[in-house]
Amino acid sequence: MMIEFVNYALNGALLGLLYALVAMGFVVIYRASKVFNMAVGEMLVLGAFLVWWAVAASAMHPAVGIAAALAISVLVGLAIERLLFRRLIGESVFSMIMVTIGLLILMRGLVLLIWGPQERPFPAIISLTPIIIGDMIVPRPLAAGGLIAVVCAAGLHWFFNRSRTGLAMSAVAEDHQIALAMGISVRRSIAFAWALGGVLSVITSMVYLSGKSLTFLSSEIGFAALPVALLAGLESIAGLLLAGLIVGIVQGLTAAYIDPLIGGNAASVVPYLFMLVVLVVRPTGMFGWKRIERV
């Protein structure tokens, strides 16, 4: 009984860390450009198709294929900045967010156009044999994903809060005009944000989809990760880990203990309940930047 509980909680926690990794796609772009990227899920699908194309369809060596996918995703990120966001510097941030919605629709269309709607087996980049510790069974991709999430969070946290380049980008997230006045290139910051978002989407797609099937609908995980991003607060990268753990564990335990009782799928609703409560009680999330108002 106890071991079962631990097992559910552990798997939930790892799933939560995967959400945290996906949610990093929101936060990274937000922290360097103040733009909330609605197209995170679509970027992930694009990254996944790039990996699939390189590793499964073109039969490159996995290492080469992944490197190629990463390189292309960086180029896609740079292209997004060049074609869409460069023209919008100085416009309201709201219009930039609307552009990301357009981007969502556009990318979904492009993926359908290039690769079609059929299901594709995603290569098992991360081996699928579960890790067995005593009585506990942990899927290896999830365990690897948890580790990657922690490493990415630590690295990005250091980058945005300690390194000078990262701080300069955070200044862009605070206020485009101040950043401009200090001679920070808002353009370069936004380009970097999208390139980083592209890289993250490739990494996340490998964790999420290893051994599963890939279609354009895999982008749903983007919205599944939204509650984690909002619970942490859009500015905090380290906070994502804690938020991911909370949401993941609650969801895992709900699936295990409450769903059988009510005979429904409460687990998929719980994260969004969390999100609504967070938005009402503390709109800036646990670790987000509170609006500072001085009287």
Binding site: R164, I178, A181, M182, G183
Partner: protein, 296 residues
């Protein structure tokens, strides 16, 4: 204008038809100015002509003040120089801007800052969610090495000791005066030759105004050139060596600071004093100002 001062842009309104002086006839003290504007025009949204031919110059050391009422074009002048105007749907449509011997007209702000010209915007624009130290480090974002940045950081803490005490505090929660000191400190992290500073006294308690201007005096003595926009004419003219008065997008009056202080119109409109030096009733000034405008 029955005074001894030059009024370079007043040509069209004058009946005696005196010839227009050359674009930057200004002060004799600088044959080689650090910053020179020649007949600069600024167009907002391709429609509104906000500056109508502004010429001014700033010497390599010392302070120049830009005075005038609301909407005269003072902030626009600074934004045109630093290039921030591009992000506000404006552009310099005519004229030349020479900084340190090179044209910076139309350059992006990053290039201008790198050339040694930094703009402190109006309204104490700190990065509110970051600490004082982080704000300053971001100001020094273009240093090639961390060591050089640390050195500049120490220099700022030395120049403005108050910031050293506050380094771990969140900038958004500082008092107005402290925020003003912070944005000044952040600007000198870029190691500029010239600082454009817009309304540093706006909304500050009188004691903080004193502290902020004490810092500006000190920076000036250390060799930083300043172009200051101020509505508080008294403190601005105490700091500046030379001043320009703007009205309706033009420069209507210029002169040495003490000449301006003695000028009848400046005393009346900007210092609120009458001829004998007594303070005028505020109501009189308002009334009088609404009717009298310089012809531009």
């Amino acid at each position: 204008m029955s005074d001894s001062l030059e009024s370079p842009r007043a040509g069209s309104g004058h009946a005696d038809g005196e010839p227009l002086p050359p674009p930057h006839g200004g002060h004799d003290s600088h044959a080689d100015p650090l910053l020179a504007l020649a007949n600069v025009e600024v167009l907002y949204a391709e429609v509104i002509l906000a500056l109508k031919g502004v010429s001014l110059s700033v010497p390599r050391a010392g302070c120049v003040a830009l005075l005038g009422a609301n909407g005269a074009g003072k902030s626009t002048t600074l934004k045109a120089i630093s290039g921030i105007i591009d992000a506000e749907d404006g552009r310099v449509s005519a004229g030349g801007i020479i900084f340190d011997g090179r044209s910076i007209r139309g350059h992006d702000t990053a290039g201008v800052v790198r050339a040694g010209l930094v703009h402190v915007m109006e309204g104490r624009r700190v990065l509110p969610h970051m600490t004082v130290a982080q704000n300053l480090i971001i100001g020094g974002h273009m240093f090639p090495s961390t060591v050089a940045m640390r050195r500049a950081l120490d220099a700022v803490y030395q120049a403005i000791p108050r910031l050293s005490e506050l380094r771990t505090r969140t900038a958004g929660y500082l008092s107005g005066g402290e925020q003003q000191l912070l944005v000044i400190g952040r600007a000198i992290m870029a190691e500029p030759k010239l600082m454009l500073i817009d309304e540093p006294s706006l909304g500050l308690a009188p004691r903080m105004v004193e502290e902020v201007f004490a810092v500006l005096h000190r920076l000036r003595e250390q060799g930083l050139a300043l172009l200051i926009v101020e509505q508080n004419t008294r403190v601005a003219l105490a700091l500046a060596d030379y001043g320009y008065v703007m009205e309706g997008g033009r420069i209507v009056l210029e002169g040495q600071a003490d000449e301006l202080r003695a000028n009848e119109d400046v005393r009346e409109f900007y210092l609120g004093l009458d001829r004998e030096g007594g303070r005028k009733s505020f109501r009189d000034i308002k009334h009088y100002r609404r009717r009298k405008r310089w012809l531009g």
